[in-house]
Amino acid sequence: MLGWMAWTWPTALLFVGIFSAIGFLTVLELKFPGGAERVGILRLTTTRGDRLFITLLGTAYIFLAWLGLVGMPLWWPLAISIGWGVFCFWKV
């Protein structure tokens, strides 16, 4: 049934990761409503969901920039992305 979608394990895991992050945020929101809103270091008002979005979008750009400017392997952009995610949830 899903054959036409040409699934691979890595891409499936990527989506499982994104959807479980969204699911986790939903559970958090039900337990602690309000989205933990605050004004971060970029002077933006962000909720948990905003911070996840900024993390994911930034990660995409870090990997694309590395692929375009440097190439393989991708351990460094992975480390930078994790750092970026921590920074987003901590300060932004």
Binding site: W4, A6, T11, L57, Y61, M72
Partner: protein
Amino acid sequence: MKTQNQRAWFFVLPVLLLVAFNALIPMMTVVNYSVQETFGDNLFFWEGLRWFQEVLQSERFHNALGRQFFFTFMILIIEIPLGIAIALSMPKKGPWVPVCLVLMALPMLIPWNVVGAMWNIFTLPDIGLLGYFLNHTLGISYDMTQDPVAAWVTIIVMDVWHWTSLVVLLSYAGLVSIPNAYYQAAEIDGASNWAVFRFIQLPKMKTVLTIAILLRFMDSFNIYTEPFVLTGGGPGNSTTLLSIDLVKIALGQFDLGPAAAMSLIYFAITLLTSWLFYTLMTRDDNKA
């Protein structure tokens, strides 16, 4: 008694399902394509992130991207001020209001491929009204099928003709919603026309202008039909915008992997730019 519950979410469910089927699932398929190679027959071979690297480092992509940004920049810098100017000069009441509104709405009612075909015929040097007039009456050499500059002028003018109305209508809606008291206060203070525009009209139009800029950015960044029908991306590659190049790779060459990688990069650019626009332009509202 509880006055609030989460039941309203169930009403959003149909939309969610619809979006899942027409956007999310195709998008996931594109992600799957972007890491594989196929020769048809639904057979796929793992390639990893090779296509992304290839697209990002290819000159063809850089050029198409550059053309795309140039096109979007040009139409925004023309359509937004022009739209505001036209909205300011439109009557606020009286019998001419509906006439102006209908006239403004007309270009937007025409389907995109018809707009492309219209402008194609209109600007052909030997039979088109504009093309013939420029070439044979004024003696200006103008041929958008041969000359890249003429082709660029034509696609930009065509887009301005087609979509400035959107900016006009949105700005106009913002303008007529300003209460008269603001203008009366400005008159008492002896404010100049420029001051009225700068401190009353422009701030009051901010929300609609944000929407106008966002819509025009996204539409023009994803534009395909009009330039494709008008110039077909030519002469040469001079008006091959990102979407035209993407279709060439995906359907012309049947390179689904690179095309999928390219469309994801394309998507990332649209997403970031729209998010930046929206965040920067609504930042002050959140503070208040």
